[in-house]
Every structure is written in structure tokens, then in C-alpha cells.
Amino acid sequence: MENGEPEKVAPASFSSANPAKKKIDKLIASKVHNDPAFAELMDYVSPIVSDIDIHTERRLMRKLEQRELELNKEYLKEFEKVNEHVQKFSDKVTAMHKICADLTDQIQQNKEKTQDLLNKTSALQNRKKVLELKQKTIDDFLAKFSLTEAEEKALDGNADGRVSSDFFPALDRAHSIYEQSKQLLRTCANHSAAMGVMEEMSKKMEAAYDVLYRSIQRECRVLSTEMVEVKGVIAESFAALKDRQILLKYALDDYANARKNNAMRAFSDILTRGAGGGKPLEVLSHDPLRYTGDMLAWIYECIGSEKDLLLLLLSKCPPEMIREHEQRVLASISAQLARTFKVRVEQTLTGEHESTLLYKLVSILAFYATKIEPIVGADSDLVQTIDELQQLTLNIFFSGLNQTVHKILTKMGTPDYDLLPVQAVHQSLMLLKEVLDVHDSTSSGGDESKARFDKMVASVLDPLYRSIQLATTQLHSPVDISVYTLNCLSSIHSLLILYPFTDKRIEVALALMSGHEDTLISEEASAILSSTGLIPIYQKAMAHNQSQGPLSSISEADAATVKRALESFDHFLAQPHFGRIDQVARISNIKVRERVHTRTMENVVAAYSIIHSRLVDPFNKYEGLEAKTVEQVRDLLK
């Protein structure tokens, strides 16, 4: 800077007592010619110094001062200008600053405003997101909780009033929507949408079920006329009604009605016109067994195929549903058949009295009842009807049997001289055998069958026993009574042993027989002993005791009487027929006859042994009496 240069020099010249000297010393000491600053200084001063004298320095000094002043004045003047500029500039800067501050202010304000906007924007954006989410949820919800157009259409059914296979998935969906909204309601009780959906669905389902029910009605009507293959739709239709039990019941009732009429028509046809070129069943009506049997066979077959058809219809239903309705429907289909069948059977029964035929009829009815029952159920009209007819036939059978027995027995006469069972006994037993044989050949072996068997036996045997006993009251000797009774009992016994379940009856017969055998044994033994005169001796011997003295001293037991009796007994031993009761020979059963004989002789021997023991007892004083030993007598009587 050129303006600074003199400033440096001037203060140096005023600062010391001898600044010039010092300066000169310094100049001398320093190699001034090498110093550019000094050279410059010299250049500056030299024009000013013209003469060198004593005053030179002072003049120089003055001149320099003057110059410095001038320069300073000039500097000041210049500085004034600068100052003025600076002043101006400062003013401008201040103004500018003011503007800037204003701007900053404004910017700040703007900035704040923007922040607010931003906040609002982001809030709005958030809300938008939430709304979008809701929108999606609602869309989802609607998609999930309403039916598609196609589904709605399917639920309306076809123009012909039937439903097609897409009906069922649609119904299922309506159902599941309903269930889901129900679920929703359960988790949040005030879910109005769910409530709405439920209401909607339930309306739709109601309508759909209605359509379905009508469709089934139509299908069934067609089925009943052709009875052909079952379309899948109808099986599905029934299965779809699983949640509408009442509708299902109605639908099945309609079905049963249609089938019932169909079966009835077929049954009348077979009865009056015959089928497949065959004769009508009616022509058999004079033959109750075949007529009834053929009708039952037809009915059995008919309900069999009805069952197959029904199971096809219900094939898509759950098993418990099938179980619940199957028998009821089949029972209802067959109910009408039962009525017709009953009338027909009752007609053939009138005037029928033949026991075996009636019983065979009972068996046929029982046979079919057990076959049919599992199909239509025990409570069904059909089974009830068959049971009733069975009971009716059985009643006719038993009353017929009782009547026949009664008729036979009232004709029973007094036993003949031969003491063999009279004709009536044989007739009743033959009748019994006949019915028991039929029973045996048809018996199912159950308790009922056994009870019936017992009843048959009782129907014949109880009155027979009474008649036999009444008849024997006409006889005059107990021996005749016993022989006759024994002979009758033998016949009864030999019939009873042919059949099972007769143990008790056999026991009774045998017990009765043994009573009469005892009578005969006792009578005959008594007869033998009395004909030989041993009876009084036996009685005396039994009643005797030693305090009475020897037995031979008692009248009618004296040695002579005893001797006579023993001779007479010997005579009997030689001719064992002597003194015997002839009726015993009329015991028809050889085994019984022999048993009676053997036991009679045992009794005779027993009685003889008592007498003998007294005769050989020395106390009784029968000296010299010849009496056979008990062993001898026993041998002789063998």
C-alpha cells in the first residue's frame, strides 16, 4: 500500500532524541544500498531536498510534515468519501437486513402453515387407509356372507319346478353363512350385520326348502308311475332335508302315499288278474293254506323291493336318519295291503274247522310275521294284522280242538270188559298226535311255541284225564279201576314220550300209574294170601306179641289152620295162576304187567317171610310143621 509508507517513516523521525542520528547510524550500520526500502525512501526524499545546509533538515522536516498533513487532509477527504459510501452501504444493508428479517418471518410463518397442512394430510392419509381397510373388510364380509348370483339362481329351482344339482351346494352355502353369522352373533351380541345376514339367509333357506320340497313331490310323483332308476338329484334332495325333519317327514309321507297306491294296484291285479300270464291268486281261495301263503309271499316280495327303492332314495342320508324313517315309510306303504289281506284271509277262515289245517295256517302266518317284522317294524299295520290273524286262527284252532275233544269225550262210554281204553281215548290221542305233529314240523322252538305245545297237550289231556276218571267211577272194583286207568295211562304215556317238552306230563302219568300199580300189587298179593288162607295168619302174626303166649295158641293161628294154609300155599306155588286176579292179565302194557307181577310176588314173599319167621320160632310152638324156606318160595315164584 503506497499510503502507508510515509506513516512509517514519520513517527520514526519523531520518536527519539536523536532519531536522525540513530537513523543515520542505523543507515550507516546497515548496508543501506542493499535495502530496497531505503532506496525507495531516498527516491522519495531527494526531489525535495535541493540544497544541503544546516536548515536542510529542518526544511525537509517541514516539508515532510507539510506533505504529511497534506496527505492526511487528502486521506481524510478520501476517507470522508469512503465513509459516505460506507454509510450508504450500511443503510442499504440495514434496509436489506430488514427485508431479510421480514422474509425470514414470512418464511417461518409459511413453514408453520405447511407443517399444519402436512399433519392434516397425513391424518387424512391414515383415515384413508383405515377406510380402505374397512372397505376391504366389508367387501370380504359381503363376499363371505352373501350368496352369489349363481347360487341365488340355483336356489330358485328350474323352470319345471325341480331343482338341479347346483341347488345343494348353494343351499349348503346359505346354511353355512347362516351358521357363521350365528357364530358372529355369539361373539358379539349386537352385530347388526350378522343379524341381518341371518335373517336374510333364513328367509332364503326357507324359500329354498320350499322349492326343494316341491321338487321332491314332483320327482316322487314321477317315480310312483314308473318305479325306475332313481336320479341322483332325488337322493340328494332327501339328504338335503336332514335339517328339516318335518319337511322330510312330509316328503316321505307323500312318497309313501304314492307308493302305497302303487302297491295296492299291483296287489289287486295279482289277486284278480294274475301276473305274467299266471292265474289270479283268487282262484286259490278254496285252499286257505296256498291262498294265504301266496298272498304273503307276494306281500313279502313287494315290501322287499319297496325297501330297496326307499334305500336308494335315502342313500345319501346319514344312517341314523334312514333308521328313523325306513320302517315307518315301509309300514305306511304296506298298511293298505294289510287291510285287503286281512279281509281275504278272514273270508277263507269262515267255516274252516280242520285242526291241522288251521294250525298249519298259524305256522305260515308266524313264519311270515317273523320275516316281515324286521322290515316294517312290529308296530306296523301289516305285522299287527298278521299277528291278529295268527291269533284269530289260533283261537279258532283251539276252540275247534276243544270242541272236537269235547265231542269225542262226551261219547266216551263205560270201559268194556277187556279194560282196554275205549275208542274215545284212542280218538283223542290220535287227534293230539296229529296236532302235535303239525306243531313239531312247523315249530320255531321258541318259548311261545313251547307254550302253545303245552296248551295243545292240555287241551286234549286235561279233559281226557277227567273223562277217564269219570268213566272209572262206573267200574265197581278198585282192581278194574286201576287196570283200566293204567291201560289208558300207558297209551297216553307212549304218545307223550314221542315229543319234547313233555317231561312234566310224563312225570304225572308215571306217578298216576305207580299209584295204580301199587293198588294192583296190594290187591293181588292180598288175594293170593287170602285165597291160601295165609291172610288171617299174617294179620295175627303182625299183631302178636309174646305176652299173649305162643302164636299157635291163638285162634285161627293154631297149628292145624296153619298147616292147611301152608298146604294151600304149596298148591299156589305149584300153580302160580291159582288165586290170582284175572284183571291183572288185562294190563295192556307188558312191562307194566311184568312189573306188577314181580312186585306182587315180592310182597307175597315178604308176607311169607314174616309168617315163616314166626313158625320157626320155638316160642310159638309149631312143632313138626313143614314149611318151605323163604328162599324156596322165592325161587318157586320166579
Binding site: R505, V508, E523, R599
Partner: protein, 214 residues
């Protein structure tokens, strides 16, 4: 003939015969014992009816074969056949009917003629529920029992089920014990009664009157 069921197995088998005038209530007693029922109108018994029932005595099964005889005079001969093999005899009279009590003497006669000597006899006064119509006193029954050496005397009512089971039970118990003691008629050689050969036949008591109720 009534067929009765029941278990066939038994340890003892005894035959018991009920006798007494027509209408004294023998059948009712048997029915009460067998079935536990009382049927008012049984219908008179023709000949003999047969019933079985088992009892437990001293832990053993005792089967009773019960012969319910018809009290009508005309069956007297037929029913006698069954006395011979009887182990026990129940003689019945109706406590409201003097005649039925008095008849017992003749029934007892029959028993001694045809039944085994050691047959166990019980005398039963029936219809004990008809106390107001009683004619035969308890002492009369007891006296009869003692006079004929019978096991016991009991008054029963089949209608009100008094003493019926007890009667049969006592009889069964006695028969079983007698059998156990080896005194049964089967063990005796003279199981069969020998008689003079002139067995009374029907008609002997032809003028015999039936019970006053009939």
C-alpha cells in the same frame, strides 16, 4: 291235571295226598301253596289233580308231589289208589261245616286201610278267615289230631294266605327227617298194605252226603 314247572333237581321226593269232603277247600289250599293265588271258584276236582313244588328244608331241595283229590263220593275209590304210595296225607275239613269235620273219621279209616302205616298225617281246618261262621272249634281239631296220632293240626285260610305254606313246610320237614332217620316207607319191606281182599268199593258210602256248601 295241572302241569307245573320248576327245577327238576331235588334231594328228596315225597308224595302228599290231600283228602276231605267236597268243597272244604283242598284245591284252594294247593293253589295257594303252588301259585300263591286264591281263585274263588275252582270248580270241583274230577278224580285227582297233580301238582309239584319244591321247598328247601335244612338246606336240601325237597320236592313235593301233591295229589289234590276230588272230595266227591264217586271218586273215593279212584283216589284211594294214590294213598298207598303217599308219604304224607293232609286231611281237610271246613271249620264252618260240621259235616266235613265228622266225615274225617271215615277218611281216616280209608287212610289206615290203604296208606302205609307210617304215613305222616296232618289235619287242616280250612277257611279260618270265616271266623264268624265257625262251627268246628279249635279244640275239636286238636282232639282229632291227638286221637289219631297225627303230626299236627293247623287252621288255614287259602283266601287270606294264613298257615298254608307252614302246613306244607312242616310236613316236608317231618318227611325229610323221617327219611333221614331211615324210617321212610321205601325202606320198609311191607310198603304195600295187605288187606283182607275186600277193599271197600265205591258205593259203600253211597248215602254219604256232600258238604253243606254243596
Amino acid at each position: 291235571m295241572n302241569r307245573e314247572d320248576g327245577d327238576d333237581s331235588f334231594d328228596y321226593l315225597f308224595k302228599v295226598v290231600l283228602i276231605g269232603d267236597m268243597g272244604v277247600g283242598k284245591t284252594c289250599v294247593v293253589q295257594r301253596f303252588r301259585n300263591g293265588t286264591f281263585v274263588d271258584r275252582q270248580g270241583t276236582t274230577i278224580g285227582v289233580d297233580f301238582t309239584m313244588k319244591s321247598l328247601i328244608v335244612d338246606g336240601k331241595r325237597v320236592k313235593l308231589q301233591i295229589w289234590d283229590t276230588g272230595g266227591q263220593e264217586r271218586f273215593r275209590t279212584i283216589t284211594q289208589s294214590y294213598y298207598r304210595s303217599a308219604n304224607g296225607i293232609v286231611l281237610c275239613y271246613d271249620i264252618t261245616c260240621k259235616q266235613s269235620y265228622e266225615s274225617l273219621e271215615r277218611w281216616i279209616d280209608d287212610v289206615s286201610k290203604f296208606a302205609a302205616p307210617n304215613v305222616v298225617k296232618v289235619v287242616v281246618g280250612t277257611k279260618a278267615d270265616l271266623e264268624s261262621e265257625r262251627i268246628v272249634q279249635v279244640e275239636d281239631g286238636e282232639q282229632l289230631q291227638r286221637r289219631h296220632g297225627m303230626l299236627t293240626f293247623i287252621e288255614t285260610s287259602a283266601k287270606e294266605n294264613t298257615n298254608v305254606d307252614k302246613t306244607f313246610y312242616r310236613l316236608a320237614e317231618t318227611l325229610k327227617r323221617q327219611h333221614d332217620a331211615g324210617m321212610s316207607i321205601e325202606s320198609q319191606i311191607e310198603g304195600i298194605r295187605l288187606n283182607s281182599g275186600s277193599t271197600p268199593v265205591g258205593g259203600l258210602w253211597q248215602k254219604y252226603e256232600s258238604c253243606c256248601r254243596y
